[in-house]
């Protein structure tokens, strides 16, 4: 049996195991061990598994992930997400659909100090959704704003998935993180405009009763000052080459902790909860990372990535068509599994193809994350939508329907990034 055929059968096996609801990481390891044993030999396959299981976690570059996650969860426990929302409401309450716009804006602010999409989405579900409903906003729209806003947590750095892409492709992680900033802000803007237009077109979804917040503009700014400060120190440190990404994560998490302790807003229970959540979230991510390391070796001995690259290169298809096809594949896979699993399984296959076509690896990283995020809110899997629906008790179908206009906005953002790669690569290129 040729290695390529074993590789192909491996994918069939993977899908079968997934259908039986074997956890994605376990299914990947199972297929990789059997496949490696078939292509190489049994003992080498087993030994490789042990080495990769250790090396997959013992990575300096990946150590930034738990730190980024901890930073976001500590700040969430200290109530910063709620503050961001209150502050934006002060500036936006007169606007039609102002609370919907404020929810998305607050999500973007929170995303700039949080490495996790789910942390952002959960925070906004708790903080913003009840407020929006109190003022008569449609429940589906309220939840959709929290869900869509949460996706910004993965795009605007710090972001665990951006780091993961960097490690998988060996692109510089600092560059990848910086590259997320401009597209992240742009996407946030597009989403906010979308929310405004949705309410403008269908006023019954929004509210005509909003009250003047009891905060002044200055007081509102005082509420959110930690956001720009922490962001500037951690991302600025990377930009000016003062920090490695891991140090940026450490500095960010330490500042989050200091902020929580000094302002006395972080309780002991909140601290323990954030720490425990960070460990669980990291354990979950790293099980996939380790599986990805083992599965990656199987992919390379099966020669699947080379075969695919050769095949696509031989097609002589226009470059944009290949990117569009990748988008379709990611979108379909988004209906099957969550974004980290897709990232880990598909990046080793897709990345060489894209580089072979002459695209920039950092640019494609941000594009990948944007494509995966669209899947995060789209049915039937739409992980974040599930989380928000679970937290808010708003019916899932209702939330999914309300996310459609935002999916369109995300697709527009993706189109812009494809048409104007400078949106992504400008900032990392300017970095010192």
């Amino acid at each position: 049996m040729s290695p390529e055929l074993v590789g192909l059968l491996g994918f069939v096996g993977l899908l079968t195991l997934l259908t039986l609801r074997v956890p994605v990481a376990i299914a990947m390891i199972a297929v990789a061990i059997v496949g490696n044993a078939r292509i190489v030999d049994v003992d080498a396959a087993l030994a490789r598994t042990g080495a990769d299981a250790f090396q997959g976690a013992a990575s300096f570059n990946l150590s930034v992930i738990p730190l980024f996650v901890l930073m976001g969860l500590l700040l969430a426990a200290a109530g910063l997400g709620a503050d961001a929302y209150r502050a934006l409401d002060v500036f936006l309450w007169r606007l039609r659909g102002g609370l919907a716009v404020a929810t998305l804006g607050a999500s973007a602010l929170f995303a700039s100090v949080s490495g996790s999409a789910v942390a952002s989405a959960t925070t906004m579900s708790v903080v913003a959704v009840p407020e929006m409903r109190k003022f008569g906003y449609d429940s589906g729209l309220s939840a959709a704003c929290a869900a869509v806003g949460g996706t910004l947590g993965a795009l605007i750095p710090p972001s665990a998935v951006l780091v993961l892409y960097g490690v998988l492709t060996e692109e510089p992680i600092g560059d990848i993180l910086l590259a997320g900033i401009v597209p992240g802000v742009m996407t946030a803007g597009l989403l906010m405009i979308t929310a405004y237009l949705v309410v403008l077109r269908r006023p019954e979804l929004g509210a005509d009763t909003s009250t003047k917040p009891d905060l002044g503009h200055l007081a509102a700014l005082r509420l959110v000052w930690p956001v720009p400060v922490i962001f500037a120190i951690s991302m600025g440190g990377i930009f000016y080459g003062v920090f490695t990404p891991t140090e940026a994560g450490g500095a960010g998490a330490a500042l989050a902790l200091i902020y929580g302790v000094v302002t006395r807003r972080l309780t002991w229970a909140g601290f323990v909860g954030a720490l425990s959540r960070s460990v669980r979230t990291s354990a979950f991510i790293f099980l996939l990372v380790i599986a990805g390391k083992i599965f990656g070796f199987f992919l390379s001995v099966s020669r699947i990535p080379f075969t695919v690259t050769d095949f696509v290169g031989g097609l002589d298809a226009p470059r944009w068509l290949v990117i569009a096809a990748i988008f379709v594949v990611y979108f379909v896979l988004g209906a099957l599994m969550d974004e980290i699993a897709i990232l880990i399984i598909m990046t080793p296959i897709v990345y060489p193809v894209v580089i072979d076509l002459g695209y920039d690896g950092v640019w494609f990283g941000v594009l990948t994350i944007m494509m995966l995020l669209t899947g995060l809110i789209t049915p039937p899997v739409g992980l974040i939508t599930f989380v928000v629906s679970g937290v808010t008790n708003i019916e899932l179908g209702k939330v999914f329907r309300a996310t459609f206009p935002f999916t369109a906005a995300l697709s527009l953002a993706i189109g812009l990034v494809i048409a104007f790669p400078g949106i992504v690569v400008w900032l990392p290129n300017a970095a010192g």
Binding site: L18, A58, F243, I285
Partner: protein
């Protein structure tokens, strides 16, 4: 009796989880001391770069088992939610059995790899910490994850707690919140 065994293993893994949390704090402290030492006193902490990955191993591997008890897994629900409760229980058992086999192999091979590291006398470059100890911690974590998986199978079969066999109403069996950074 069974309930007590299951309870104590869950407790054991919660303890492991605390160690993982402590390792994460240690990682944070190490990074901060290194930054402060370097920028203020011009003396970086030597060995930070080699210790951090080892601490990460502790965070990750000792964090696994508790996450398993909490059900932080990602799985695919395309077919699962469209079949009856009995088929779901069968699928659950098949999936968890595959997990047991795979985790058993991983644990075994990690232990073997630890032996290789020890025999080769591999240490970190600056502090000369013996790496095999950390591989053994990883093997221990994998073994605890194996145990946690087994316990959750027993809990399903013996119907010890209700939420484990929750039906299609909880997508992913409520297994989703720990995901998606």
């Amino acid at each position: 009796m069974l309930r007590r065994v299951v309870g104590s293993i869950r407790f054991l893994n919660r303890v492991g989880h605390y160690f993982a949390g402590a390792a994460l704090l240690a990682m944070l402290a190490l990074t901060v001391v290194d930054i402060v030492g370097r920028s203020l006193f011009n003396s970086p902490l030597s060995g930070t770069v080699e210790v951090t990955p080892l601490l990460l191993v502790v965070v990750v591997y000792l964090g696994f088992a508790h996450a398993e008890h909490q059900g932080d897994h990602v799985s695919v629900d395309l077919v699962y939610t469209r079949v009856g409760p009995r088929a779901q229980r069968v699928a659950d058992l098949v999936a968890r059995s595959v997990s047991l086999v795979v985790l058993g192999v991983v644990t075994w091979q990690l232990w073997r790899y630890a032996g290789v590291q020890e025999a080769g006398g591999y240490t970190t470059a600056v502090l000369e910490w013996e790496i095999h100890w950390f591989v053994r911690i990883a093997a221990l974590g994998a073994a605890l994850l194996w145990l946690a998986t087994l316990v959750e199978i027993v809990a399903v079969v013996a119907r010890l707690d209700r939420q484990v066999s929750a039906g299609p109403l909880t997508p992913g069996g409520g297994l989703r919140e720990g995901s998606a950074p």
